[in-house]
C-alpha cells in the first residue's frame, strides 16, 4: 500500500509541477505568489503521504491531526494565492 501511495503522490507531484508551470506562464505571480503556491501544494502532498502512512500504521489520530496541522495551512496558502494572484489583474498580456 505504501508503494501505491508513493506512486499516487509522485503522480500528483508531477501534476502540481505542471500546474505551477502553467499558472506562472499565465499570471505574474511574483515571489510571494509563486512561493505560497509551491508551499501550499507541497503541504497538500505532504498531508496525503502523512495521513495514508498514519492510517496504514494503525494510528488514525495522527492522520487526522496531520490534516489539521499540514493540510489546513496548505489550503489557506492556496486560497490566498487564488484570491490574490489568480485574477485578471495579474494575467500576463
Amino acid at each position: 500500500m505504501m508503494e501505491l501511495m508513493w506512486y499516487v503522490v509522485g503522480f500528483l507531484a508531477g501534476v502540481s509541477g505542471y500546474l505551477v508551470y502553467m499558472l506562472s506562464r499565465k499570471y505574474n505571480l511574483g515571489v510571494i505568489g509563486l512561493g505560497s503556491l509551491i508551499i501550499g501544494l507541497f503541504l497538500i502532498l505532504f498531508t496525503v503521504a502523512w495521513s495514508v502512512g498514519s492510517v496504514l500504521e494503525g494510528v488514525p489520530r495522527a492522520a487526522s491531526m496531520g490534516i489539521v496541522f499540514f493540510a489546513m495551512p496548505g489550503i489557506v496558502l492556496l486560497t490566498f494565492t487564488a484570491k490574490r494572484f489568480l485574477t485578471p489583474r495579474y494575467r500576463k498580456t
Partner: protein
Amino acid sequence: MTENMHDPGVSNKMPSSSGSNRGEGNSKSKTSRRSFLKLSVAGAGVAAAGAAGITVARRMEGIPQDTLPIPINDDFKPIDQRNVLHIFAYSKALDQKHPERTKKFGNYNFYERFKTFYNGPYRKDPGYTQLERALAIGGFALLSKLHGPYGLSNPDGLLSSWKQEMLAKSQYEFPSKQEASQVIKSAAALYGAIKCGITRRDRRFDYDPLYDIGQERELSWERDFPFEPKTVIVIMTEMDYLAMSTAPSWITDATVGNAYVEALKIAAQTALFLRQLGYKAVATMNDMGMCGPYAVAAGLGEGGRNGQVITTGYGPRVRISKVYTDLDYVEYDKPKTLGVASFCLQCKRCAESCPSEAITFDGPSWEPTYSSDPDYIWHAAKGVYKFHNDTKKCFKFWIENDGACANCIASCPYNKPDFSHHRFVDIMNVVAPSQVHGLMKEFDILFGYGTVSDPAAVKKFWKKGRTKT
C-alpha cells in the same frame, strides 16, 4: 551583440534597419538576461537545497566522534558482575551474602521475589490472559534452551559457550581492514542483524570479575576466559512495534524474548563464522560486558534517559548481542551523536510513563541522584555522566506485573514504526534547536503516539499482527 543576431529565423523576420528593430532586439536581450538570472537563481536554490539535504541526511545518520560521547571519570572501575541486578536476583549465595540490600529496599528480597516471576495466575485484564502468557512463553522460554537456565546475564551459556569449537587451523587473511569489517557486517546482516557495529574491546565496559550463578563462583578474564579479546562486534535486532505498543502487557515479553532469541542466534552464527575463519570468538548477550556502552562506541546509537540505546530508525526498540573476538585487523566504527542527549533533556516522556518511578526526571550526573547510600545504590555505575535510574524499582514492578514492562520503550518519541513519514520528523529533530524538542514531544502525544497501558493496543495487536508493509 545580441543572441538574436545569430538566429537566422529571427533576423529574417526583422526589418533590416529601423529604430524599432534595435528596440525589439534590446527587449529580447533584456528578457534573455532576466531568464538567465532566473535560471541561475533557481539553479542555486536547487544546489543549496541539495547540499542542505545531504547535510541533514548525514546528521540523521549521526555525527562521527573521535571520543566516546559518554563522559567517564579516569578513576572509573569496571563493574563487578555480582552487582548486576539480574545476577544478584538469581543467586542464592549473593542473597545470603548481602542482607543489607534487602533491608535497604524496604525488606524486599530480590531472590525470593524473582522465583515468583512468570508464575502468577492469568488475569482478566486485556494483555494479561492465558493467550498473552502463552505468547510470552513462546517468545522467551526458548532462551533458557539456547543460553542457559540463569538468564541472559550469566556468562558461558550454551550458544554463548566459551569453548572454541570448530576453530579453523589456518587464519583467513583479509585484504584490508575495511574489507574485513564489511565482510563481518555482511555476514551479520545475512544472519538477520538490523544493525551491526565494530569497536575495540574496552575493559571499562566489561564486568570484572565475572560471576557464574550456576557454579556460584567468580570468573577471571585472565584465568578462565579462553583468549584475550581485542574487538567487540555489536549486533542489534528489532522488537515488533505493535507488540511493544501494548506495554506493559505480557505481549511485550513475547517480542522482547523473540528479539533476544534472534540476537543470540545471530551472535552465535557470527562467532562461528569467525572461528571458521581461524579467529577465536565468543557470542554473548547481557553477560560479560554492558551492551549499551559497546553499542554507543560502535556508532549504533546514543544513550537515552530511559537507559536504552536510541538508534536511528528504530529508537530504543532494539535488543543487543555481542561477539568478543581476537581479530583486530578490522576498521573500527566511530561513535556518533544523534542529538538524543539534548532531546532527552527536554522530553522526559519515559520518566512520566514509568509505573515504578524508576526513571529519573533529573539531568545527567556522575552518580545517582536518587540516593547516596552505598547499600542502596550498590548496582549503580558511578563515575559515568549519564541519566541514573533506580533499576531496583523497575525490577519490583516487573515482579508485580508478573512480566516485563517496556513502557519506557513504547512511550519514547524515537520509537516509531518503519514508515517513511516518520523520517520527516527525524529531519525536523535534527534541524530544530533543542528548545523545540519539548514542543515536538507534546506534538507526539497530540498525534496519538507512545500511549501505554492501552487495552485498545492489545486488540489492535491481535487483529493486525506485524506492521511491516
